[in-house]
Symmetry: C2
Subunit: 268 residues, 2 copies
DNA sequence: CTTAGTAGG
DNA sequence: CCTAATAAG
């Protein structure tokens, strides 16, 4: 059994002041993939340095205060790789990969994009390069007899069920036809599986991000853009997948909620 | 009788959230000179627009969020002048003057300066130009039979009694020998009077600014840099002068405290 | 330490 | 609306 969580913390230093530390102390996850850490390792608050019981790999962006991904694991990784052999993106705090026994885990923070700007073109370049990487990753893993799980903020909602207001967002970054088609290729051509959708094929959401603007969270006007995407054999061992939406009992310490999947993996 | 207050609000929008509005509602001042407003008039919170019972003149800096002075008066000014005919400084939100019957009131925010930087040179240029203005102002006022009061954050402590730690600050901006000498010229050559010091010749302080860093406020480790400076005849009518240091009963809504002087001016 | 602007989200 | 870097104080 392995429990994997993905969460965009929207600034780990701010999150730490609002409840992330307590959430971390209580989680039963074995591996946690973080996005938008927005901190150099040296800038982390003491409570997040030398985390007891966790092995950590931090992959900050070259630009201070931007992006940044990390993976926390209870087991020590046998290998750690920052980036995906991309000249443009390896230094941008958007991808880090670790190897655990029989399993490769990656934390991904795909650019957000903004229609009509250079940042949308950057997103598209990232998507093109990253799809190549996903294919290679799967081929390599198959050759090694390994499974793969890519956790992250993909910044794309795949289908109308994945966001509250799909009609109004057809020309918005994150739900553009070309972005949705790209995600289809991740599934249909590269052969990956979105495990939350696999276990909950018919429901709307569950959303994992709600804008801080307006009453988006209270109205559950969200998007499902934080995805746990795995190789098919691993997906078939997924026995639970959920979004940990904050409620009156749990503080909201990010505009995203943790997404968690449990796999009967390595069990006898 | 006229009551005049000078206070550096350190961002009127932040101050408004912390108690400035309540202070303003309770004050008995007739004229209030503000410095470091740091807001365009259009950006002011509603509570500070069309202030009931006050005439207001706002002189923001050309650069948003920087400097900015204002004068609030219960009587309507007969004349309002932004700047002091300085090509360099008239647009920098550092000086505004109003005329009331028999009295010119000015709000001044002298540059803070920082030793060894261009900003110290800017401060020195300001001082040179402003001293010329002070002389003209006094000459003009004398010809018109008017008194003058220049309220503001002068960003200079005159003597050892005017700051907690004068020995350690002899090479610090705000207590440099040339700055202190300049203030002496304002008094001795241009003929103005610092009314708080006139009424309290022997005491240390009263300080009007305490850094937000460390425990400066709790230790009363402050500076007396907010001054009410007047023509001699007006000074001789000053019957009270004080600093309104925040205590357990009053919120601290700025790193500066209001300085208030009461003049038996216009009384029969 | 605090303010406000700014870029990114 | 929120985070963090930055400049100024």
């Amino acid at each position: 059994m392995i429990v994997v969580t993905s969460v965009n913390v929207n600034g780990i230093r701010a999150a730490a002041k609002k409840g992330f530390i307590e959430w971390l102390a209580a989680t039963e996850a074995d591996v946690i993939c973080l996005q938008e850490v927005r901190s150099e390792p040296e800038q982390l608050p003491v409570e997040l340095r030398d985390l007891d019981g966790w092995h950590t790999v931090w992959a900050p962006a070259a630009t201070k205060g931007r992006a940044g991904v990390a993976v926390l694991s209870r087991q020590e990784p046998s290998r750690t790789t920052v980036g995906f052999e991309s000249a443009e993106f390896d230094n941008s705090g958007r991808y880090v990969e670790i190897d655990l026994p029989g399993l490769t885990v990656a934390s991904l923070y795909l650019p957000s994009g903004e229609v009509g700007t250079e940042r949308q073109e950057e997103k598209e370049r990232f998507m093109a390069e990253f799809l190549v990487h996903l294919r290679k990753l799967r081929t390599r893993a198959a050759a090694d007899g390994r499974e793969v799980v890519v956790c992250g903020d993909w910044n794309i909602a795949h289908r109308p069920e994945d966001l509250k207001n799909w009609k109004a967002n057809q020309k918005a970054a994150g739900f553009l036809p070309e972005e949705r088609a790209w995600l289809s290729r991740v599934y249909d051509e590269a052969g990956y599986v979105d495990v939350v959708r696999r276990l909950h094929p018919d429901r709307t959401g569950p959303y994992s991000w709600w804008s801080y603007r307006g009453r988006a969270f209270d109205n559950d006007s969200g998007w499902r853009i934080d995805l746990i995407v795995t190789t098919p054999d691993l997906a078939s061992t997924c026995i639970e997948a959920r979004v940990e939406r904050a409620d009156s009992h749990a503080e909201r310490w990010s505009d995203h909620a943790p997404v968690t999947a449990e796999f009967a993996f390595g069990d006898n």
